[in-house]
Symmetry: C2
Subunit: 319 residues, 2 copies
């Protein structure tokens, strides 16, 4: 590694006073907590695939950590530590400073410590690994959904996908609406507090990164159950609700990526507790259906009639 | 992520029976051990930077994990778990199968479990994060070297750098010699057992990834000490010893990358124990100098006269 690239590490060496040993040795040294499982996830963002080459580095810094925190949230894990492997085509100090600011902004907001990193020359690639902790036997897994569970989602669906569609010229939005949806695409807020609150409440959970149908499909296949969803119940922002007649609506709401909301299932008996939690955490929580034994995934219209889902670009969840 | 790319994950989903929850959920769930610190490191290999685009994928699989295991070894940590973030320009199943075989070969040899991964389309990039465990207060850190310590290195220096020089046409080697050095470049063996054995013996350790002078320089700067090295003591293979007159010799041996040997310091009183360890582990261990209080890094020739190091391409360790 050139010394030029070694210098980059200085951007990612802010103090970590509560860590045994942070950036700067062969490994970080971390003190895990008794009676907890370590929850670990890794996710990459690649230029030209997940973001445009000229993307705002500060937003990228936020998002590259946020999408990983979303996995911890979906597991009900408390964020603890993360590492960053970053490849850059060249050393651009203003880009790096902005990226680091965005990353640390997200890290500070969610109390996760960057404890290690690797910086190399190469096509722009941001790979993060996050570590969190969850009490033994309280993790929110994909395989815990039970027949009779209510299916919930947090927040609104489709904002990020509509933002991307607008950027790609598939629709025109007012400046204000565009700014609102773009914020959701570029700076998603991981549902960390919600994940923690769901630990003793939900039977299963997943974060919605590939679209509701795909991700709920993972819960169904891992739990060997089926689902009935109510189309009219799907939560959307006012902006997206106004786009209900747009040809991309179903795809964006049901199969759009980058929502980073949580989808979870819980016993119906907990519904009041969940509604109270929504108040307390100031996050919209909407019951969109229920877990059933058979039938794969069925989407019902307002009259209770099954809808076709073939055209929604989703082929994973076939039961 | 396209379903095509989701399928890739199947290459990295071999069973992990001793893990709470492996690949397939939002996070892996891991049970850490009491009274141990978690040691975590991350390292990337990038096509066109760390390896050629047409590199043997099975060797890449081995090496991409081995270079990370080398960091655990340098910390004295027992390997436990790893995650993989892989970007590929296209899905090439035979490449993937060979890469996975190489990776698992190295993982099985060192009893580390692949517990999570992310696969994306993009320029070829292999980012791994490894996790290990080390008893509290027994980690081999960079900052523990003490005046009077002997400085040791494992194995031979310069093999990998000479292999690369030969590949780049800077010298001609016989087929047999080339194969021997290329093995060291493409399939380094992380010194995991040595790192564990050094836990109660060494004051400091680092793995030699950027060349002896650079990496020993990190120990010196972190420990605020200096070093005297004996040029004649530097261990090399017979092949490299025969190249002592080659203009690249000093650079390859002193500042060549990719050795993945350990450099460590230990009290002189432990020298016999270290020699016995070399026998027991069947690894060459050579005392190459000693830690002193002042003077930066000095390299002595066979007559005890200081040598010039400016031309060795190394500028980090200036005291």
């Amino acid at each position: 590694m050139s010394s030029e690239f070694s210098l980059i590490q200085q951007y990612f060496s802010r103090p970590t006073p509560d860590v045994v040993l942070g950036v700067g040795d062969d490994c970080a040294l971390l003190q895990s907590s008794p009676n907890m499982h370590l929850a670990v996830s890794t996710d990459s963002l690649v230029a030209g695939v997940h973001f445009f080459h000229d993307a705002d580095p500060a937003l990228l810094g936020w998002k590259s950590l946020a999408v990983n925190l979303s996995d911890l949230a979906a597991m009900g894990a408390t964020p603890r530590w993360c590492t960053l492997a970053i490849s850059l085509p060249e050393v651009d100090e203003s880009w790096l400073a902005a990226y680091a600011d965005g990353l640390y902004h997200c890290a500070d907001a969610h109390q996760i410590r960057l404890v290690g990193g690797d910086t190399t020359r190469g096509p722009l690639n941001l790979s993060l690994t996050v570590m969190g902790e969850v009490p033994i036997n309280q993790a929110l897994r994909r395989d815990g959904a039970q027949v009779g569970d209510a299916i919930w989602v947090s927040g609104d669906l489709g904002d990020a996908a509509f933002a991307l569609a607008a950027i790609q010229g598939q629709l025109q939005l007012s400046e204000v609406d565009m700014a609102s949806l773009a914020q959701r695409l570029h700076a998603p807020v991981p549902r960390v507090s919600l994940g923690l609150a769901l630990r003793q409440i939900a039977h299963s959970a997943i974060d919605i990164s590939d679209g509701l149908l795909a991700d709920l499909g993972h819960i169904l296949s891992h739990s060997r159950v089926s689902a009935v969803l109510h189309y009219a119940a799907l939560p959307t922002s006012e902006i997206v609700a106004d786009l209900a007649a747009h040809p991309a609506y179903d795809r964006c709401v049901l199969a759009g990526g980058d929502d980073y909301e949580l989808c979870f299932t819980a016993p119906v008996a907990h519904s009041d507790a969940i509604s109270a939690m929504a108040e307390q955490l100031d996050v919209r929580l909407t019951c969109i259906g229920e877990i059933v034994a058979d039938g794969g995934m069925q989407l019902m219209d307002a009259d209770g009639q099954p809808m076709q889902m073939v055209q929604m670009g989703y082929d994973h969840f076939v039961s």
